[in-house]
Symmetry: C2
Subunit: 341 residues, 2 copies
DNA sequence: AGTTGGCACTCAAGGTGTATGAGTGCTAAG
DNA sequence: CTTAGCACTCATACACCTTGAGTGCCAACT
């Protein structure tokens, strides 16, 4: 069993190491913190911590550094997610105050988050799965090319070009458009999917193939939504922490461009009771981010359904402060979407 | 005056330095290239080149390295933009073959370009300024919020949320929508701007303010288009060349996120007769990219009007190969937009 | 049982000194 | 104009040493 004081030691090791980027030794601890015991005692505690694989010594003889497991314990049991400072709250209010449209808000949000945390910030587009469909518009682009524009509540717009199997006249397009709109207007995206399947079944006549192609396109459009996109900011913050990534940040930059990986990671993260979630170091190894940590929280977007936002940084990051920032920004964003747009 | 052979020397210095990342000395040159003269002679030539500020010696006694001016001369007079290898052409055809919509094509293009060049690739959204307006749609989002969707030829879609000064009913919206569509349908974006101004003038009655707000929103939407956006790929390639950036790639990453800077740079670059343009090192200093070079070419997008694409990398890059790739990709993209979408 | 001081040991980091070799400029001769 | 030769310059690498922070262990103390 690990003593109470040993956990305190772990806490200050994490804090000092994050602050100074230097392995922290027993002597440093007694100098900087008032434990009321001698360095030798701290050394004993550190020995138990090392036994539990919570800290390691990079070299035979230099201070200790938290392991991933150590960070995990710190995050789960030792860190308090304290509210932001008034100055920071003000920054959030001021930043997000002037909202224009969804794109603009997300853009601002992600910048804000990266400035607050000095890490790479990520914001997922809000899901449209539960927002009502306002209108579907077919626009002829050429002989057998049709642009299909989907407008949902909350100002979400999706577009897609469809190749039709045969030439389609403007008037025919209009008829199909009216029929489709009549079928799905006001429905939630999820329900609309089912409704369209029925519609496709019921379609007949000589236009069957072309009609099917169109309906199918709309269904795809509903299924693959922008929810699968991230807005990113602050990637230059990676450079500052390059050392922490073993000098190898290429996989991180690739992941930021790839996005799919990060979205999967987001989706697998479960919030704890404090409203934030952390995935630390090797826990991300399967995503190619074994040297990185990700903090995330979810916010409720336009459609009422949740999307994620968060930060990505080196394992050695200030979890306390960053978790606070992530949570606060997520809450503000939810509020903003709730009342405004 | 600089002798013909001296220019040859400059050429091999650029090529060797780009290939090996080592300052190249007189002895190395005579070993690797068949100049038919001795090292001492090469040294004399190098002295003239240095006098002209085309090369410099990093240390008192190690080989020479091209200056920005040297690269410039190389690009302008010494480099031949030779066609791509059949394998590369094949890669382009295969990559861009399966086109879906504008977004998809640009996405693929930028990845392709970054893979061909091993640099950061940039593709600007095609300008909609000369494409015809297909339809403008107003969708009510709330008491006095309207979503304004603009659909132009070529599948370009713009959206924007407008706050109205007063509550607007669905039917009133419909009326305005019909009037606006009647006014601008089929017009080029540029002409539509003027036409809308007239329309706003002619608007009267109690709805004047609300109508003005809507029309004004459409005008802004026409003016500020996606043309102002870049798609980026391959930023992890920056890491490989980090040394070349003096180990300081933060400003570059910032510029990639900021985009505005790069767009301005693109717009200031003029293509030469070969269809490519280069901006080298310090020439970019005012953009905060003094250690970087940018190659660009323009392509003709959907509306028939041009947008830019290019690559960004360290000053020490393979200009010959990269210029070829940029030009080839631009041509392919033009062709693709011309025939297909 | 837990805490403490003492001691020998380890090892990264930083400094100094020396050899090496690639490369240069210059000069005088071909 | 070209060439060979020579003296000179540095960056790099390596070996070597010193320093100091930090450790583990043990015996003694509370």
């Amino acid at each position: 069993m690990i003593s109470e004081r040993s956990l305190d030691v772990l806490r200050v090791i994490v804090q000092d190491y994050v602050a100074n980027n230097e392995p922290v030794g027993s002597k440093t601890i007694v100098e900087r913190h008032d434990f009321g015991v001698s360095a030798a005692t701290i050394r004993n505690d550190m020995a138990s911590l090392e036994e539990e694989d919570l800290i390691v010594a990079p070299h035979t003889s230099s201070g200790r550094v938290p392991t991933d497991k150590g960070y995990r314990l710190f995050v789960d049991r030792l860190a308090t997610v304290r509210p932001l400072s008034p100055a920071q709250r003000l920054a959030i209010e001021r930043f997000l105050g002037e909202s224009v449209d969804v794109d603009g808000v997300l853009e601002r949000t992600v910048r804000l988050l990266s400035q607050l945390t000095h890490q790479v910030a990520l914001v997922q587009y809000p899901s449209a799965a539960h927002s009502a469909i306002r209108r579907i518009e077919f626009v002829s682009l050429g002989p057998n090319k049709v642009l299909c524009v989907l407008i949902a509540a909350g100002g979400v717009v999706e577009q897609r070009v469809v190749d039709l199997p045969r030439d389609a006249g403007e008037d025919w397009l209009g008829v199909v458009q009216d029929r489709v709109n009549g079928a799905v207007h006001g429905l939630e995206v999820g329900d609309a999917l089912a409704r369209l399947a029925e519609l496709a079944e019921a379609t007949g006549g000589s236009d069957r193939d072309a009609g099917l192609a169109l309906v199918e396109a709309v269904r795809e459009q509903l299924a693959v939504e922008r929810h699968d996109r991230l807005v990113v900011a602050g990637s230059s913050n990676l450079i500052r922490g390059e050392r922490d990534f073993n000098g190898n940040i290429s996989p991180v930059l690739d992941a930021l461009e790839e996005q799919v990986v990060l979205l999967r990671l987001f989706s697998e993260m479960e919030e704890d009771r404090r409203g934030v979630s952390a995935s630390i170091g090797r826990e991300n190894a399967s995503f190619g981010l074994g040297e990185a940590s990700v903090l995330s929280a979810s916010y409720t977007g336009t459609g009422g359904r949740a999307a994620h936002l968060g930060v990505l940084g080196p394992t050695r990051m200030d979890y306390t402060a960053n978790m606070a920032a992530v949570r606060a920004v997520a809450r503000y964003l939810s509020r903003l979407f709730g009342e405004n747009i």
